[in-house]
């Protein structure tokens, strides 16, 4: 089964290392760092490339430091270029 590919970016400076996202991740993609940020907390790090962009980690993150990206499901069915006058395109079919 082709998996949806996702990605997260984490603002590590605002992370407080509460570990909630690590436990919430269904893919076990996240882990806490051993290094500390300037506030003295460990921070969450994406360690596996199995992220599906389910947003679970971002939803439980109290500090809202996680931004989630997901690969678009829909590919463009047609690309229009060099259109000089008004046209109507039927995309229902």
């Amino acid at each position: 089964m082709a998996k949806i590919k996702g990605h997260v970016t984490i603002r590590t400076e605002n992370c407080k290392g509460c570990d909630l996202c690590v436990h919430e991740c269904p893919q076990d993609s996240l882990q806490l760092s051993t290094a500390l940020n300037t506030s003295g907390y460990p921070y969450a790090v994406l360690v596996n490339d199995t992220c599906t962009g389910c947003t679970n980690c971002a939803l439980v993150c109290p500090e809202a430091v996680i931004t989630v990206f997901r690969e678009g499901k829909k590919k463009p069915i047609a690309i229009l270029s060099h259109v000089t006058e008004n046209i109507t395109v039927d995309i229902t079919s």
């Binding site: 590919k5 990605h7 570990d19 506030s39 994406l46 971002a58 939803l59 109290p62 500090e63 997901r70």
Partner: protein
């Protein structure tokens, strides 16, 4: 023997610009480091309210009332008009604001020490009058800010600094179920109890907050009351993950989640 320290590296993504951004911090939540303890449910509750305000596009017309307690600095993080109220009097202040400015969306954000202890009278009478406001009640069963004393909502047997042998119901009474209590008042329009301990519950809580604000905007009924059962890792002397597990294991048996009073069907 210590484990060798291998620093995990964040995986980089090459085609990030081609991906869709599916979740990010709400715009109205001010980009500032929150003062809450790691893993605190208050931060999630703040975010849910701001997401709701973003979605309904009511940033310009919303006035929030901040409480006294852990969330006393709520106005530091919410990019809307805010008013600080005296301890427990947030609903009374909100009543005044709503009556003077009926076209504004007014909500209060209160903890259990604020709403269920010192402000019980104000809360009950505001809801009894059916004021058209939203009350967000974050219940973590303890006085977090002052150092983990017993609150009216603390479960029986729970050890706090003022109940070192656990809450004894013979001398300290039973925990208050605020949501059930006020649901019998005719002025209550929508009463629900939600949690923010897992992704699933956060999604549900978001829907409930959205509903509550929508009901106020429609202006049909009375007060909407959203109780959010939260954790307090520092006050409960647990790690954030343990405290969320404790919510699942013990607290939800007593504070049952779900809608308690729904608006009458038309």
């Amino acid at each position: 023997m210590t484990e060798p320290l291998i620093e995990p590296q964040h995986i980089q993504c090459e085609n990030l610009d081609q991906m869709d951004q599916v979740w990010t911090r709400p715009e109205t939540l001010i980009d500032r480091k929150l003062h809450y303890c790691p893993g605190c449910g208050h931060s999630v509750a703040h975010r849910l309210i701001m997401e709701t305000i973003d979605e309904l596009n009511i940033q310009e017309t919303t006035i929030g009332v901040a409480p006294v307690g852990c969330s006393v600095f709520a106005y530091h993080y919410m990019d809307i008009d805010m008013q600080e109220a005296a301890h427990g009097r947030a609903t009374a202040v909100a009543t005044g604001i709503k009556r003077v400015l009926p076209d504004r969306i007014v909500f209060t954000y209160q903890g259990d020490g604020d709403l269920a202890a010192i402000g019980t009278a104000e809360t009950i009478h505001t809801i009894n009058r059916g004021e058209n406001i939203v009350i967000i009640f974050v219940n973590n069963g303890i006085y977090g800010m002052t150092g983990g004393q017993m609150a009216p909502t603390t479960l029986p047997g729970f050890v706090t600094s003022t109940s070192p042998n656990g809450r004894d119901t013979h001398t300290m009474g039973y925990p208050l179920k605020m949501a059930e209590m006020i649901s019998v008042l005719p002025g209550a329009y929508y009463v629900t109890r939600q949690a923010v301990h897992s992704a699933k519950s956060v999604r549900k809580a978001k829907k409930a907050t959205l509903k509550a604000f929508q009901y106020q905007m429609d202006g049909k009924g009375g007060t909407s009351f959203v109780e959010i059962v939260s954790n307090c890792p520092s006050g409960w002397k647990m790690t954030p993950v343990e405290s969320n597990q404790y919510l699942d294991d013990e607290i939800f048996d007593f504070y049952t989640l779900g809608d308690i009073k729904l608006p009458p069907k038309e």
